[in-house]
Symmetry: C2
Subunit: 430 residues, 2 copies
């Protein structure tokens, strides 16, 4: 079975989604909005909802970025849902393991075993400068810290044996031998333990990671229980999928580690209708701003480009002097999709390097099935261009097709996120 | 009008409460239990519920201490209630201001303006050793950090103007001039800002403090908007009350700063019934453990003391070599209440130095009124010896008497914690 996850972001993953007259931009501070999104996803029997997180505000003229904080949101959402998993991003660079382990454990109890945490090392100097740094610490330092962070968190969760609170009214609340300190003294952290929270219902809340760099892939292979990926097309997805599965095996792990690339979908009753939806959003982008931003990506002045003409030719990747990653994405979109300038701006504004599928429910299900059956994906991290519309469309129209084909569950069979993902409950590690 | 706050702690504030056959000890990991307590308090029109917090596990054989983490709990509880304020302890020693300000602001949005934060500097080496310290940093360092912590948090909340998200679909989501960085570089923190969360509904979530030491009282006088206190009797309450009100004025503040001493109540339809309830709990204490612990407080071996005899005479305070605070409490209880050994153990097991009132609803209301009218208290921080029983008794029996006397609201008149406490909404500070 496929695993499907809803990535909740503002009014949707298209940068202009909030500009639509019907957008929920006025509700971004209202927890009921997020509860409703989670309920739609749960109606579709999705595995989980997921929140990214950032620690700085940037480009707020362009659109909403962050509003509520994800861990606090997920507690409320857990009470408005019953089955669906709840995943929060946690920065190992800005948090400390005790805080993170304690909050995530608490949320796993509150949600009866539905929590996941997506460990990121964060990226931006503006974020670092909200946490005492002058600039973002280097990649090596961040990844070394991330791995130690994860290990300490797991140890803290295991510092209480399952069932440690024996609650013997005539005797002890906890038998002393059923909890233990962890006495960790590492490169980055010094923590005695035990945690203040008993072992979470899932043992360990499910650890997600999105390793892209060499170190990221290795950390994911060694530690992650599920992986988010960026894959522009099936070929890229397969390259990543096979590489990670190989690394997982090389790390001596024999467990199933689902890989879930991001997926932007525009659903319509015909392909033309789906394309019209995409175009409607693309046209909401303030073109001059988007052209200025594109200019920074491709290293030339684009402000005079004609919106409905084909994209002018650009130098090859090797000849480009600036950051290659984003430039490669631009070239790939141009070469594969032959877009107009406006279409290119729209593609970059919704998911960027992530896969985009535009079509009827059957067409989208076909494509998802192709990825699923051909070592491209064990599931998908849905990034609807608009919310709630985009997830409602997916749940109402695409999910039934996947269910009919036996590719997706018709109802929840388990009560925990770990259960939905087919992952075993880990024993305590000591 | 009085302000009344429910301090939620485990199965109640009596250390043996969990041992009662009817206790909710099996529910301490179940968020529904805390939601129910908040709902009872809201039925009684109380100002707020409050959670203490600690970062280590100690004496877990003796009884439950911490379980769920308070910030994550309060989000869920906010969705199970509509009016009551929600106060979480936040350690300024272990948190950093960006995390704390962000979470508390998020919760203020989620709860529509009902959040308060009780700043503590924490106390125990065992806690410090979960956060990278070898021992607890000194008192001066902790208080200097706390004051800087509070100031940075307030600045972060003010880094968005009210209504900054203008949400102009044809223009900007936020006008650049309506948010600003804070560029804080202080002794303890370096934070650029702005926050990622728009200004909280209350402007600033309400700042509580419980200053006892000189530095604590000064910090409370300069910064706190409401104050928790420890007062054994009316005389002690008045000393504290007058001292703090004087310091508030000396700090140049003319606003109302409610002072709320802790209060343990045993309610019965007769005084004898109330006393019987107290005795029933006291008898659940494992006597030998309690005597051993008492021995540490008073510096002699108490394990041979007869439980139902009067307390043997003890040396005067001046002659005592160990920690004076707790010893003074013991002497005061002995001198004022002439308790048996078992009664002394019970008093120390429930609130310790806090005021205890035992009697009929009218007797308790009389006493509360006396404190309220005589510069002892602007309200109370209720510490029911058992939960949910103790708060249910209070709400069903004592609240109606206070309401009848015009001492307590019959219904909520406002929608925010700030409103319930009679505090103005602060303007942004820059």
């Amino acid at each position: 079975m496929m695993h499907i996850n809803l990535f909740i972001f503002g009014c949707g993953h298209h940068r202009a989604a909030w500009r639509h007259p019907g957008s929920a931009v006025e509700s971004l501070g209202d927890i009921a909005y997020y509860e409703q999104l989670a309920q739609i996803a749960e109606r579709g029997k999705l595995d989980a909802i997921f929140f990214a997180d950032g620690h700085s505000t940037d480009n707020l003229t362009d659109g909403p970025r962050w509003f509520l904080e994800p861990l606090t949101m997920l507690s409320a959402i857990s009470r408005a849902t019953r089955h669906i998993g709840l995943i929060s991003t946690v920065s190992s660079t800005f948090y400390t393991p005790f805080h993170a382990a304690r909050m995530v454990a608490s949320l796993d109890h509150i949600s009866n075993g539905r929590m996941g945490w997506n460990v990121v090392t964060s990226m931006f100097d503006t974020e670092a400068r909200n946490h005492g740094f002058d600039t973002m610490p280097g990649h090596d330092w961040r990844y070394a810290r991330a791995e130690e962070f994860v290990d300490v968190a797991l140890s803290l969760w295991d510092s209480w044996q399952d069932g440690a609170p024996q609650m013997d009214r005539q005797g002890a609340y906890v038998k002393p031998e059923s909890i233990h300190s962890i006495d960790h003294k590492g490169e980055h952290f010094r923590i005695d333990g035990p945690l203040t929270v008993p072992r979470p219902p899932q043992g360990h809340p499910v650890l997600f990671q999105a390793g892209a760099s060499e170190q990221g892939r290795d950390l994911a292979a060694r530690r992650a229980e599920a992986i988010y990926a960026v894959a522009y097309d099936l070929a890229a997805a397969q390259e990543y999928y096979r590489d990670i599965k190989r690394r997982v095996k090389a790390a001596g792990r024999h467990d199933f580690v689902p890989i879930m690339p991001g997926l932007v979908t525009y659903v319509g009753s015909t392909q033309a209708e789906a394309r019209a939806r995409q175009r409607e959003l693309d046209e909401l982008l303030p073109a001059q701003d988007a052209l200025r931003q594109l200019g920074m990506y491709v290293g030339c002045d684009c402000t005079g480009w004609e919106l409905d003409a084909p994209v002018p030719s650009l130098p090859a990747l090797e000849a480009f002097k600036g950051p290659k990653g984003r430039y490669a994405t631009v070239l790939r979109i141009i070469n594969t999709e032959k877009p107009t300038v406006r279409q290119l701006l729209g593609r970059l504004a919704a998911g960027g390097g992530h896969c985009t599928m535009v079509g009827t429910p059957e067409q989208i299900a076909d494509e998802m099935e192709r990825w699923f059956l051909n070592e491209g994906a064990d599931g998908f991290n849905l990034m609807p261009p608009t919310l709630p519309g985009g997830i409602d469309d997916f749940v109402e129209q695409v999910v039934p097709v996947l269910q009919k084909r036996g590719l997706f569950r018709k109802d929840y069979q388990t009560e925990t996120l770990r259960g939905h993902l087919g992952l075993a409950r880990p024993c305590a590690r000591n």
